[in-house]
């Protein structure tokens, strides 16, 4: 690890000024940043430790029924906040399916939004990677790319965004509050992350010095009763998603009034599936609608390598997540959050009977 200046500002404006200097990086828990620094993937000259900044560690109910989550709230604290989990069960489930309990105890909300891809070539400084070293090429494109993106990728970069948390957040219209050199502004989470295009090194719309202060979720009471996150993994826990999906349904009188849907592990950013939401709006919550929604969600998908299976798998996880959401949010988060092996009554899985 390269040596660095360590500064610990007392105020947000001091932090912004310190971090606006080229070569600076914000340090919160460091669960991603220190990992990247140890791997030689990023080599900042200066760390601006924001963990002591006041006022960023609160979960606040807003007058309109929404919630404002300070950027320094720890993942575990948010997921285990009973009020929050009741209002935003898919978000809590996604949080608890990510990483490990130790990492969730440390990792912050703001940091989670900014975590970097797990692409093996990005993580290997000897490989060509346009994201890590602009213009060097993309060794993933013709390499081991079984788990790479099927949506939103470009010839420059086929890496996926690894966050679980961001998937339900983007589905539920989360807004990111940013403090910057020119004051406070807001941006929809959906717009925070950029698609790679020809500049995969530019991952977000944050400018130098910009500090994520909070994430806001609008009131979503209508969705809380039918919201799930589901994540396919190569082991039962402590693994990144092969594909994942968040679904939230507003169901009334046997019809879906409106739907929220997003996918994880398939694209360079948390992927809002608006086409699927349109299909679902004003339809019956049944298998036919879910399958149509799945087709719509993946309509633009194309393999970036040896990963065509992810398109089909993503469709299936969309359909399954919708099925689970329609069956109703469980009273308590399952023992294995977001796992297909969380026990689900057979009656809620119409798809499972097709050859029984």
């Amino acid at each position: 690890m390269k040596t660095f200046d360590y500064v610990r500002p007392a105020t947000i404006s001091e932090a912004i000024a310190a971090a606006a200097v080229p070569g600076s990086a914000y340090l919160a828990a460091g669960t991603n940043l220190l990992d990247l620094m140890k791997g030689g993937i990023t080599r900042p000259d200066r760390l601006v430790d924001v963990t002591r900044l006041p006022g960023l560690d609160r979960i606040e109910r807003l007058p309109d029924g929404g919630v404002r989550i300070g950027a320094l709230v720890r993942n575990a604290d948010l997921a285990n906040d009973a009020n929050f989990a009741r209002s935003y069960p898919a978000v809590a489930e996604a949080l608890l399916s990510g990483a490990s309990a130790q990492l969730r105890n440390a990792a912050t909300v703001g940091g989670n939004l900014l975590q970097r891809t797990r692409c093996g070539y990005f993580y290997d400084p000897a490989s060509a990677c346009n994201k890590r070293a602009p213009g060097s090429g993309c060794d993933a494109r013709d390499g081991e790319n079984r788990l790479h993106a099927v949506l939103g990728w470009s010839e420059s970069c086929i890496a996926t965004h690894p966050s679980d948390f961001c998937v339900p957040l983007v589905a539920l219209d989360a807004v990111v509050e940013i403090e910057g050199r020119s004051g406070r502004r807001e941006i929809a989470l959906e717009d925070l992350h950029r698609l790679p295009g020809s500049t995969p090194e530019l991952e977000t719309r944050l400018a130098p010095g910009d500090l994520i202060a909070a994430v806001r979720l609008p009131a979503e009471a209508a969705f809380a009763g039918h919201a799930r996150y589901l994540k396919l993994r190569e082991r039962t826990s402590y693994a990144f998603a092969v594909v994942s999906a968040a679904a939230a349904l507003d169901i009334e009188g046997g019809r879906i009034r409106q739907a929220r849907m997003a996918l994880g592990g398939v694209a360079p950013k948390p992927w809002r599936a608006r086409a699927a939401e349109e299909v679902l709006a004003d339809s019956a919550p049944d298998e036919t609608a879910f399958r149509r929604a799945a087709e719509a969600a993946l309509a633009d998908a194309r393999p970036s390598g040896d990963n065509a299976f992810k398109i089909e798998l993503a469709k299936r996880i969309v359909a399954r997540t919708l099925t689970l959401a329609a069956a109703g949010t469980p009273e308590r988060l399952p023992a294995l959050p977001a796992s297909p092996f969380s026990s689900i009554p057979v009656t809620s899985i119409p798809g499972a009977h097709h050859d029984a």
Binding site: M1, K2, T3, G40, R118, G120, Y121, Y123, D124, P125, A126, S127, D139, D142, G143, E144, L232, R233, E234, R235, T236, S237, Y238, A239, F240, V242, F309, K310, E312, L313, R316, I317, A319, R320, L336, S339, P340, F341, S343, I344, P345, V346, I349, G351, A352, H353, H354, D355, A356
Partner: protein, 758 residues
């Protein structure tokens, strides 16, 4: 070294009786749960410096430039060791003095022969400085294209597999047997490269005092490592002292001296101070061995009753360009199933990787993964229950040699395991079972086997005047429980309670306990201990029975028994005398005995010696999404005499979970252009987590083996993997109807394969 049992009251050291056969808790338990157990990297001698390896990012070529100035300019960097200034060795690292002395890299030239090969060592006053110094070397290379995978170079028939075994063995005529078969199976299985990944990275703390070398280093074989270091550095053996009281796992990767450990010693020599060198996790994917990938073709013929008429097991694998370890995967077919014709053949090719090495159940793990799958396919081809098929082809004698087994309670393993698991309710056809939640459920079985080996060992036992004992041998505890099981045997050998015997192990200045490997350590070191204790007791008996003042006088013919610190006349137990009294009367401070353990060559010639087991697995598979979970594992194992059932069960659990890992998780992903492992970590190189193993059980099946060694002990450390891989994969087939022959089974194999389920 002595295990210092911290006097903590309410000690949870549970006893249920005395010594061998009892499920004692680990005698090193308190040290391990309090953080007091000192592993190699926990040593911080005064004045110690930190050494960090710089490793190659290319797999073949030459190092042309290292930015020494940049590294040395970094604050805290003390020295950079390269080919130019590395102290001399007495032995060429590329010399081959025995088949078991592996070639290694110690900066002997500028060549790179695999990715992650050490190419320089940076020594610093802090770990942080040395680490960054290594990064600043920013090597440049003259690279040649990497040769990777099973097919990039021409293959050859190796001179030997497992270093010393013949690459081809045959009995009967396989082609004739296949031609005569009513049913045939011809299946090709692939297994990936796997890395040992012990939780403890390889580490060394080396201190030179003149020509004497003092080392803390995890090693599975203290005397072997000591002799090897002496040879490499040209030192007298007694000038090399290694301490290895605890290994944080070994699994075969800490059995031979590796290049990085030699470099740690060299670095200490260069700077004249103690040096600590610990591998980073990613640096363990190269210079410290791995299990090589295989492609195995199984051809089986069956008659009308499901009896094998022929079995051909061909294994292709890879080895390095510079050494000769060839995984003996096909040997698994030597032992398990009776067939009038068996052929096992191997081929290998050389690619740009570090030399593969013994990795927990080398040969048997990969080989039984393929064989047990193919046997399952054969059973299905005959429309027979896979357990019944295995029983139909039960080997009454060792198939490849025709020798009788020294003992074999596999039938009992099958029966007990099946009963416990509830196997009889299994439908023959696949894709028949669902659970309440709609998941596909499948049951599979696999047969487990591992050779019962005995190597060579020595031990020393002492009986002291106060009636307590001391037993010494340089055993290595890498988790299997040597501190406990061998102490139990030590106590029994002296007829004492375990708390009355000091047991010393884990240090090279003790009698050579041989290697903790081949699942043979308890049998080998235990036999030596048994003999050493027996030697003491016979000397003691001599004193007593010849002394007319002893109640045992004249019992020489009748013989004596040693028990509870006393000798008893065998034919009249009312006549006895305490050890302390015998010694006191003889005016002796103590009595010393020596013992050796080795295989009885006559028994080994006459009998085939193996542990056996049967593993039953239940899996659940998401019918649409393809994710798998092993919901139940039951293994029944017969491995001779069990010294400590608590520890033996743990060994079986561990082995079985390695089998789950093999079947569903582990796989090194190699970039076929660069030859680098892309998941050289523990995040993407998946091994099971706690949630992957909701239920695992091990049944201990009684087995009395009078031939294998005087104690009747077979090995338990490796057998658990074998059979389990097949059991899990076969259960996946039974759940889904999809036969996945490329291991590990992946989500897409099942999610996509389900479309074509038959």
């Amino acid at each position: 070294m002595t295990l210092e049992i911290t006097p903590i009251h309410a000690s949870p050291h549970i006893r249920h009786g005395s010594n061998a056969g009892q499920p004692l808790t680990r005698r090193d338990g308190i040290l391990k749960v309090t953080g007091a157990a000192r592993y190699a990297a926990d040593n911080n001698p005064a004045g110690m410096l930190y050494a960090v390896l710089a490793v190659s990012s290319i797999a073949r070529g030459r190092v042309t430039y290292l930015d020494l100035d940049a590294a040395k300019a970094h604050p805290g960097v003390v020295e950079v060791m390269t080919r130019a200034n590395r102290p001399p060795l007495a032995l060429d690292p590329d010399a081959k003095t025995t088949p078991f002395s592996f070639r290694f890299e110690a900066l002997q030239n500028d060549l790179v022969r695999y990715a992650n090969q050490p190419i320089a060592v940076v020594i610093g006053s802090t770990l942080e400085a040395a680490t960054e110094g290594a990064a600043l070397l920013a090597p440049r290379y003259e690279a040649e294209p990497a040769r990777t995978g099973l097919d990039s170079t021409e293959s050859f028939v190796p001179a030997a597999v497992r270093l010393i075994s013949p690459p081809e063995e045959r009995v009967g005529d396989v082609e004739k047997g296949l031609a005569a078969a009513i049913t045939q199976v011809d299946a090709t299985y692939e297994t990936p490269a796997q890395y040992h990944n012990a939780m403890e990275p390889h580490a060394i703390v080396a201190t030179w005092e003149g020509d004497a070398l003092s080392i803390d280093m995890p090693t599975q074989g203290l005397a072997l490592s000591q002799a090897r270091i002496a040879e490499i550095f040209g030192l007298a053996i007694e000038n090399v002292h290694i301490r290895s009281p605890f290994l944080g796992g070994g699994f075969g990767s800490k059995g031979v001296m590796s290049g990085p450990m030699v470099l740690g010693i060299l670095a200490a020599r260069l700077v004249g101070k103690p040096v600590k060198l610990v591998l980073r996790r990613d640096q363990m994917y190269g210079p410290v061995g791995h299990r090589p990938p295989t492609r195995q073709r199984l051809r089986l013929g069956m008659d009308g009753e499901g009896r094998l008429t022929a079995l051909h097991h061909h294994a292709k694998t890879v080895t390095s360009t510079f050494d000769d370890f060839v995984e003996p995967a096909a040997e698994a077919s030597h032992v398990l199933y009776a067939s009038p014709a068996i052929a096992t053949t191997h081929e290998a090719s050389r690619i740009d990787i570090g030399t593969p090495l013994f990795m927990r159940a080398p040969g048997e793990a990969s080989g039984s993964a393929a064989l047990e799958g193919a046997i399952d396919e054969a059973a299905w081809a005959c429309r027979m229950d896979p357990l019944e098929f295995r029983l139909r082809n039960y080997a009454e004698v060792e198939p490849i040699s025709g020798k009788p087994f020294s003992s074999k309670a596999l039938r009992e393993c099958y029966a007990e395991g099946a009963r416990h698991f509830g196997w009889s309710a299994r439908p023959l056809e696949p894709r028949q079972m669902r659970d309440d939640a709609g998941f596909l459920v499948g049951w599979g079985v696999g047969t487990a086997t591992f050779p019962a080996l005995v190597f060579q060992a020595k031990a020393r036992a002492v009986l002291k005047r106060d009636g307590t004992g001391l037993v010494e041998t340089s055993a290595a505890d890498m988790g299997q429980g040597a501190w406990t099981a061998l102490a139990q045997l030590a106590a029994d050998s002296l007829g004492l309670d375990i708390d009355e015997v000091e047991f010393r192990a884990g240090s090279s200045d003790l009698p050579d306990a041989g290697i903790a490997g081949g699942s043979a350590h308890t049998a080998t070191a235990g036999t030596a201990i048994h003999a050493a204790g027996g030697d003491v007791i016979s000397r003691l008996a001599e004193l007593a029975t010849r002394d007319e003042r002893s109640p045992l006088f004249g019992a020489g013919n009748a013989g004596v028994l040693a028990r509870g610190g006393r000798l008893f006349r065998r034919d009249d137990e009312s006549r006895s005398e305490s050890y302390a009294d015998i010694l006191a009367r003889a005016g002796l401070a103590d009595i010393e005995g020596r013992g050796e353990g080795a295989r009885d060559p006559n028994a080994a010639e006459a009998y085939a010696m193996h542990s056996h087991g049967a593993v039953f697995a239940e899996v659940k598979v998401d019918p649409d999404l393809g994710q798998v979970r092993v919901t139940r594992l039951v293994g029944a194992f017969a491995a001779g005499r069990v010294i400590n059932p608590r520890l033996v069960r743990s060994q079986y659990y561990g082995g079985m979970i390695w089998g789950v890992s093999f079947a569903l998780h582990e796989r090194a992903i190699v970039d076929h252009r660069s030859g680098r492992v892309l998941n050289a970590d523990l995040a993407e190189y998946h091994i099971p987590v706690n949630a992957d193993v909701p239920s695992v059980e091990a049944l201990l099946i009684e087995e009395d083996d009078p031939y294998v060694n005087p104690l009747g002990i077979k090995g338990v450390g490796e057998i658990g993997i074998t059979g389990t891989v097949g059991a899990v994969a076969n259960a996946v087939w039974h759940a889904t109807g999809v036969r996945v022959r490329s291991i590990p089974i992946r989500i897409e194999d099942l999610a996509m394969g389900a479309e074509f389920a038959g």
